[in-house]
């Protein structure tokens, strides 16, 4: 398949890995920020192929994993209403709220639908004028353009029965929080290429300057990933602190201006809680007040709903790269994808789920 096959070419990937091997002279700890990259690394076993000096730790870039409990509870509360059709990206359905998940709501009383695009939810609102259609707008910068487009489209159509429940998060504040931690071990970042495709990478030079570590815009296919790793290692070995772009086929410095304009028109920066990390100031996006009529939290009066998270697993430390999934005593025992204790096990982009599905522990045993 065009643009996939050639980036999975084993010989090309092995060639770049060989170059990494020749370049590296000492141990380096890199973090891939994005859950999609974690998934790809573990699926293709890229970390097994890297020289032992390179350690990859998995960042908090899985939007499903970091959506706070409180917002899940709000979603469950709205989805259970008889007048609501609740639309969501598929992998949110399994994320546990305080006492149930969207699957349970669907089985009991709610009308919960999986959609592939928020614009499908707008169409559903048009077709069901007697129902309130709510879209669970989660994600990083990548999903922000379609999510804000759904609001603009609903506005253009004059729909009074469409709203979105927003839990948007942004990468730069998360990187800042991780690097500010006294426990930080990360020496170089692989930036989330799809986020950069929308936002460009002009937000990152100030972070690089402040924290003094290199960051490399990186794609998602095996060849993209090893090229991103090679570039990061080259910068580290040369003592260079800068932002580089190893995903030039998709990313420019400025990013997609029309997408950014649409985001800025509908969203504004706000404080956001991250599941597993806590509150990160100005790390999220929420609807601007002029779009209040599309704000599901206001429409269904769930703003005051509050939930306390209970400390049962080490998802927080995994999301910050302090621990690996199999360091958790519950991993693969009490905690499995069909019985997830933590959000990192729920989403297929979550580090725990990726480890579980692709059997990292077992294959490490095999290699030994």
């Amino acid at each position: 398949m065009k643009y996939v096959t050639e980036y999975r070419d084993a010989e090309l990937v092995k060639g770049v890995i060989e170059e990494i091997r020749r370049t590296v002279t000492r141990p380096w700890t890199l973090m891939e920020i994005c859950g999609g990259q974690t998934h790809s690394i573990v699926r293709h076993g890229i970390d097994q192929l890297l020289p032992p000096q390179i350690e990859l730790v998995h960042g908090p870039g899985c939007p499903v994993c970091v959506t706070p409990l409180e917002l899940i509870d709000k979603a469950l509360s709205i989805a259970a209403r008889p007048d609501v059709i609740f639309c969501s990206y598929g992998d949110m359905l399994r994320v546990p709220g305080s006492n149930r998940d969207l699957f349970s709501v669907k089985a009991q009383d709610g009308d919960v639908r999986v959609v592939y695009s928020p614009l499908d939810a707008v169409t559903m609102a048009e077709k069901n004028p007697d129902k309130q259609v709510v879209f669970f707008a989660i994600g990083f910068e990548t999903t922000a353009p379609p999510n804000v487009m759904s609001v603009l489209q609903a506005q253009r159509l004059g729909l009074k029965n469409f709203s979105i429940l927003v839990s948007h998060v942004r990468v730069p504040p998360a990187i800042s929080a991780i690097l500010s931690s006294p426990h930080n071990r990360v020496q170089g970042f692989l930036l989330a290429g799809h986020v950069n495709a929308v936002m460009g990478y002009h937000e990152y030079p100030p972070l690089v300057e402040k924290f003094g570590i290199p960051m490399v815009v990186t794609g998602f296919e095996p060849l993209d990933l090893v090229q991103g790793i090679l570039k990061t290692v080259q910068l580290l070995e040369a003592g260079k602190v800068e932002v580089a772009n190893a995903y030039q086929r998709a990313v420019t410095f400025e990013g997609l201006k029309p997408a950014q304009d649409a985001i800025n028109k509908v969203f504004m920066e706000c404080d956001r809680k991250w599941r597993g990390i806590g509150m990160i100031p100005m790390s999220g996006w929420g609807l601007r007040p002029e779009f209040d009529e599309f704000n599901a939290e206001k429409r269904f009066d769930v703003e005051s709903l509050h939930a306390e998270e209970s400390p049962l697993c080490i998802a927080g430390q995994i999301l910050q790269g302090l621990k690996k999934p199999h360091h958790c005593p519950a991993f693969g025992k009490q905690c499995t994808p069909e019985n997830p204790l933590g959000a990192t096990m729920v989403s297929s982009e979550g580090a725990c789920a990726a480890y579980y599905r692709y059997g990292r522990v077992t294959s490490e045993v095999i290699r030994e």
């Binding site: 398949m1 293709h44 992998d91 998940d101 929080a177 597993g276 806590g278 400390p311 998802a315 933590g342």
Partner: protein, 354 residues
């Protein structure tokens, strides 16, 4: 950035949800949740040797000269008609294939119809005609049936349950428990065609595809394979839950491991493209006209040659081998040379967000 507000050691997880209280969609997806439901709700209640064996069909010995293979399958597909097939063809082939997977010649089927009030008579006729044609191709007779009508809204057009019986060939011993280290794993063709064709036919994906479901009766293919090599150890059709789930079942039943080679597993380019876009893995997507055969290494070439000469086996390939360790695990050697575990489908197959 105010560091005080970032709770660095904060471990936060919600309590587990096991879905023991009610049925959720994941219980029907053919993965581990389905297996757990079957074990807890049914096998523990009905306990007998044939059921406990956990094969696609039950092997029974009612004191006749030959052993019988019995199976049943309920069909609830939406839409009722999809490229390459329909619920009727599916209902016949599903049961024919399950019966045949024990090395049996399927002979008779029964069919139960649950019809929704308002179903156009023409729809029913088309489905029945499709069943007639599929039964004819498979060489089975539909000898008994039942019809119920439920109120509008209580069924999705129509549901069909079929049961089938066949006689097991005398010279064979085929079961999911028979895989032996050193055996070769053969797959009869591309994976994921049915699942993606049905998904496309629902019209929710926003793109069109010319992909056809692979739904087909495999009993003649199996006959040809067993004629060539009566010593086939395992036959199974990877339906819901996909190839990954089926191989995990076999690994567990046989207490052996299975090692696959990623680049040998055939996937139609359209299936691959749909999976890449939707965040699915073809290893977990349903098939309705494919089988996995596990055969002694020295017989593999012969079986493969016979398969390739048939209509439904022309894409047959060796995709891996049975290994002694680790037991009950399916491993995959990636194209890059790394190794990973291929787990069973957990609950429902969910599209990823990005």
């Amino acid at each position: 950035m105010n560091n005080e507000t970032v709770n660095i050691e904060g471990a936060v997880c919600a309590p587990p949800l096991t879905h023991n209280e009610q049925i959720v969609m994941g219980h029907g997806a053919g993965g581990r949740m389905s297996h757990q439901l079957i074990q807890k709700a049914f096998v523990s209640a009905f306990q007998n040797t044939a059921l406990n064996a956990g094969d696609d069909a039950a092997l029974v010995e009612p004191g006749l000269r030959q052993k019988l293979s019995i199976s049943t399958d309920a069909h609830v597909v939406s839409p009722l008609f999809f490229p390459g097939g329909d619920i009727g063809k599916l209902a016949v082939c599903g049961t024919v294939n399950d019966v045949a997977m024990l090395g049996a010649k399927p002979l008779y089927l029964t069919a139960g119809f649950i019809l929704e009030e308002g179903l156009p008579m023409d729809t029913l006729k088309r489905v029945v005609e499709s069943m007639r044609l599929a039964a004819e191709e498979a060489g089975v007779q539909i000898v008994a049936g039942d019809t119920k009508v439920v109120q509008k809204g209580k069924a999705d057009g129509m549901y069909i349950t079929t049961a089938g019986v066949g006689v097991v060939r005398e010279d064979v011993n085929v079961s999911g428990a028979n895989a032996k280290p050193g055996d070769m794993v053969i797959l009869s063709g591309t994976i994921g065609d049915h699942g993606i064709a049905v998904l496309g036919a629902r019209g929710e994906l926003g793109f069109q595809s010319s992909l056809q479901s692979d739904v087909a009766p495999l009993n003649h293919l199996i006959d040809a394979m067993l004629d060539a090599c009566p010593n086939i150890h395992v036959l199974r059709d990877p339906t819901r839950g996909g190839l990954a789930t089926t191989l995990n079942e076999i690994a567990a039943q046989s207490n052996a491991g299975i090692l696959l080679k990623e680049e040998t597993i055939p996937v139609h380019p359209e299936v691959n493209a749909a999976c890449e876009m939707l965040g699915f893995d073809p290893l977990y997507v349903a098939n309705e006209g494919k089988l996995v055969a596990i055969v002694p290494k020295e017989e593999a070439e012969k079986v493969l040659a016979v398969m390739k000469s048939t209509k439904y086996g022309e894409g047959a390939v060796v995709i891996g081998e049975v290994v002694a360790e680790p037991t009950s695990r399916v491993l995959l050697k990636t194209a890059l040379g790394s190794t990973r575990v291929v787990d069973m489908l957990a609950g429902e197959m969910l599209p990823r967000i990005c």
